[in-house]
């Protein structure tokens, strides 16, 4: 394998707020992203996603550990790293509201050392690409939240970055715009760019990411493809059946490895929590003459809840 696009080795980051106890935002995080991959960074609020994105974008120093982008150290070689990266932070801020979308992009383009002509051409291309052509010459303060997000994305692309860091980029977008955005992300990968996408949107991660790192309380919980992550907890497989009588379901409920049997709408969902239990259950329901049997792996959301825990609003 050649030089990874992103390489993080045992990165830790401790914040020391005034008159408050210190906060460990990242605790020995390691991560490798090969070139051309869309990598999801998935975790609840306060998990450390944004902190990692900021360290990789050279705007925050780690407390310990090392991180490299395209083989260049983000602390010691910032001048070499910065022309290669683009960042998109979520939220409404981060744009000059009194200027138009086009003027914003032209300014950021100039900061990437583009000539005036290149800046104008690239700005126009990006405006069209993110669907802002009709409103490009209106002030940003008149944009909807979703439009500002699209402008953020265009700004991240104006430097023609090889590696893109996107932090909650679809926040505030309507479902249609978010879907178009995901298509755009896939196009960017096809152009050879590497993308680190920090999100807490399970569906987004599952749809666009080649691999996902689950992060919680500053630690990496798992790094796998969304599908493989499902298999990691495949022992939690579920079996949806129809046409099986109550007594048989009671019998199944008593089997080893069956965690629950829920009856609903003429069918039942059987959940197992031990390896091998699925086969035993399948054999029994087929023997009992089930009219329909369907097994499924958990969704990424279920993996997430299983590995990180359902903490609700707790940080």
């Amino acid at each position: 394998m050649g030089t990874p696009a992103v390489e993080v080795e045992e990165i830790s980051r401790v914040f020391e707020p005034r008159k408050k106890p210190e906060v460990v935002a990242l605790d020995g995080v390691s991560l490798t992203i090969p070139p051309g991959e869309i990598h999801g960074l998935l975790g609840p609020n306060g998990a450390g996603k944004t902190t990692l994105v900021k360290i990789l974008s050279t705007v925050l120093l780690p407390t310990s550990g090392r991180a490299r982008v395209l083989g260049m150290d983000v602390v010691d070689e910032t001048k070499a790293v910065r022309p290669q990266i683009g960042i998109v932070f979520g939220g409404e801020r981060g744009l000059y509201w009194r200027l138009t979308g086009r003027q914003n992009l032209e300014y950021w383009g100039a900061l990437y050392k583009l000539s005036a002509r290149e800046t104008k051409e690239r700005t126009q291309r990006l405006i069209e690409r993110v669907g802002l052509a009709e409103r490009a010459d209106e002030r940003v303060e008149t944009y909807s939240r979703g439009m500002k997000q699209r402008l953020h994305l265009a700004r991240g692309l104006v430097g023609d970055a090889t590696v893109l860091f996107l932090d909650e980029p679809t926040t505030g977008m309507d479902p249609l715009a978010a879907r178009e955005f995901r298509t755009l992300i896939a196009e960017l990968r096809d152009e050879g760019r590497t993308i680190l996408l920090a999100t807490h949107d399970m569906m987004e991660a599952e749809t666009v990411c080649d691999r996902v790192t689950l992060i919680d309380r500053g630690k990496v919980v798992a790094t796998e493809s969304p599908r493989t992550l499902g298999r990691v907890i495949s022992r939690f497989q579920r079996i949806d059946v129809e046409g099986v009588d109550g007594p048989v379901l009671d019998e199944i409920r008593a089997l080893d490895g069956v965690s629950s049997v829920t009856v609903a709408d003429g069918g039942a969902r059987i959940e197992v929590d031990e390896e091998g239990a699925t086969l035993v259950v399948l054999a029994r329901v087929v023997e009992a003459g089930a009219s329909s049997v369907k097994t499924s792996l958990p969704s990424l959301e279920e993996v997430y809840v299983q590995l990180i825990g359902d903490r609700g609003l707790e940080l």
């Binding site: 050279t58 705007v59 910065r82 960042i87 981060g94 009194r98 200027l99 300014y107 100039a110 900061l111």
Partner: protein, 255 residues
């Protein structure tokens, strides 16, 4: 140079889009009228030209403190500082470009006070040494821009930058010899004033409006430029260390 021009262009667009940028240009004619009225009331028509120059210098200082000095702080609060730092551009150069645009804008006040003097009191600016006058304004604007980089770097460290900027104006007008020549200030203050480029610039401006030849023009212009350059270099240094500190403490984004 591209970073400088990017900053220059950005600020011009912001000025065009933001009416509040014009406030210093609204106040300058009023100051001109106040000062002209005072010197006329005092029976000192020989000071009328000086009275017209003071508002121009005050406008430059005002812009340096209130606008230029708060550029980084403003970007930080609008979450613009982090993306800016993450680009290949030099923050100091972008900042200098933005401040230079502001200074150029501030120089419009010269034409305002010229017009107001003529229209209200029929007082003309005596262009005895027009070349020296233009050069002095130019060098003063650049020196003020250089000093503003230092202001911006220092102010971003404070949570109450606006308190500083509001209270720093008048002491600097006084020490900088903007309102009255440094020579008539108490003797113990004068050495402090000589370290402020504006005091040299103000004296030179007044001298360029009077008939006698200007003594040591180039030397005095050089002093203004040198003091401005020293402030810029110092400001750049402070800026670098402040940004490093903010990166280390995670304070580039204000929350």
């Amino acid at each position: 140079m591209r970073d400088f021009l990017a900053g220059f262009g950005l600020e011009l667009r912001i000025i065009r889009a933001a009416p509040d940028a014009f406030i210093p240009l609204v106040t300058a004619p009023f100051f001109a009228l106040i000062f002209l009225s005072i010197v006329r009331q005092s029976g000192r028509p020989d000071l009328q030209a000086d009275a017209l120059m003071a508002p121009v210098l005050m406008t430059l200082w005002w812009i340096a403190l209130q606008h230029a000095g708060n550029l980084i702080t403003g970007d930080r609060w609008q979450a613009l500082l982090e993306p800016l730092i993450a680009t290949p551009a030099s923050l100091a150069s972008v900042l200098l470009g933005r401040i230079t645009a502001l200074m150029g804008f501030g120089l419009i006040s010269f034409f305002e006070v010229w017009a107001i003097g003529e229209l209200v009191y029929g007082v003309s600016i005596p262009f005895e040494h027009p070349g020296a006058l233009a050069l002095t304004f130019l060098v003063t604007a650049f020196a003020t821009a250089g000093t503003s980089v230092a202001f911006a770097a220092v102010f971003v460290m404070s949570r109450n930058a606006y308190t500083f900027t509001n209270s720093l104006g008048y002491p600097l007008y006084l020490l900088g010899g903007v309102l009255v020549p440094v020579a008539i200030l108490p003797g113990w203050i004068q050495p402090v004033s000589s370290g402020i480029f504006m005091s040299w610039a103000a004296d030179l401006l007044r001298a360029s409006l009077k008939a006698p030849p200007i003594d040591d023009l180039w030397q005095r212009l050089g002093t203004v430029a040198l003091l401005g350059a020293v402030s810029f270099v110092l400001g750049r240094l402070i800026l670098f260390h402040v940004m490093q500190r903010m990166r280390a403490k995670g304070e580039l984004a204000a929350t």
